[in-house]
């Protein structure tokens, strides 16, 4: 189990990740099967090319899943991911590395809960943020505030 991070351990500006992924066409097929999204642009190259795409492309929802992993890794087994938002701005193709990253933008309390707002994104090998987003996690605290 991943090491638990506590509310006191993070500051505004603290980095989250990186989580590196090297998606393959095989992974897209696995994701199609697991999610039930069988749109052919994600595994059928001829179909993708006929639809004016450069080739098969990653499911937006798979990139959403990668960013979910970034945040549940960060929250740890005692934390809770409360909100997760992603915007699909650019396409990504298998065979090329993508990296999920984030940083803490706000720390605050709500009732007895300790919350952290984060800016998150997935970037391609050129460092372009193809999938920006945000997340809110509840973290455990070492001490009551």
């Amino acid at each position: 189990m991943a090491k638990q991070i506590y509310f006191e351990d993070v500051e505004v500006g603290s980095e989250i990740g990186p989580l590196e992924k090297n998606p393959t066409t095989q992974q897209l097929v696995k994701y199609a099967g697991a999610s039930g999204d069988f749109y052919q642009i994600h595994y059928d190259k001829d179909f993708a090319l006929a639809n004016k795409l450069p080739g098969v492309i990653l499911h937006g929802a798979l990139k959403n899943g990668f960013l979910g992993q970034l945040m549940t890794d960060f929250a740890g087994p005692e934390g809770w991911l409360r909100k997760l938002s992603v915007q699909y701005r650019g396409m990504d193709q298998p065979g090329s590395k993508v990296v999920c990253r984030g940083k803490v933008v706000k720390k605050y309390h709500e009732g007895d809960q300790h919350l952290v707002d984060c800016e998150i994104w997935l970037e391609n090998a050129k460092g372009e943020k193809t999938t920006p987003g945000s997340a809110t996690v509840v973290l455990p605290a070492r001490h009551l505030h």
């Binding site: 937006g60 798979l62 549940t72």
Partner: protein, 151 residues
């Protein structure tokens, strides 16, 4: 400027609901979903180790609800006709309760917003749907808002 596509008449569709659909959550489906993402977190894969956490057992990863689709309400945009093009703009998730193996989850999708704006290729319509995922105890576990763009 008056909307060309999202007219007052079109706006009346907001609130329209799709048919609910109920799923029984299988342990294997959770494991395969986490594997497809490449997420080795024991919370999603390892009953023994997940039992030692405050969750007391395996839970579903954050985007697992993508595997529990529900019919979307039919949105009529007469000015666009049938020849529109579409894009998936993104998703906003909120999490209230964990989803566990054996849960019976009911998914239902509602049209929550319609907006029009002028894009480079002409008018664009932003269609926002919200899907709620409710467990067998009537607890709201997850909401997912998705925005599709038609132009």
């Amino acid at each position: 400027m008056a909307n060309k596509i999202v007219t007052d008449e079109v706006l009346k569709q907001i609130g329209k609901m799709g048919e609910p659909r109920t799923y029984e959550v299988e342990r294997g489906a959770i494991r395969r979903f986490a594997e497809a993402i490449g997420d080795p977190n024991p919370l999603f894969n390892d009953e023994q180790r997940a039992r030692e956490t405050r969750f007391g057992g395996v839970i579903a990863p954050p985007t697992f609800c993508r595997s529990m689709g529900s019919p979307i309400p039919d949105v009529k945009l007469p000015a666009l006709g049938d020849s529109f093009r579409g894009l998936d703009g993104g998703s906003d998730w909120e999490y209230f309760h964990p989803i566990r193996p054996g849960d019976r989850i009911t998914a239902q999708t509602r049209l929550v917003d319609l907006k029009e704006s002028e894009g480079r290729l002409g008018p664009m319509v932003f269609i926002t749907m919200e899907t709620t995922y409710t467990n067998q105890f009537g607890q709201l576990c997850v909401t997912q808002r998705s925005t599709a763009i038609r132009y």
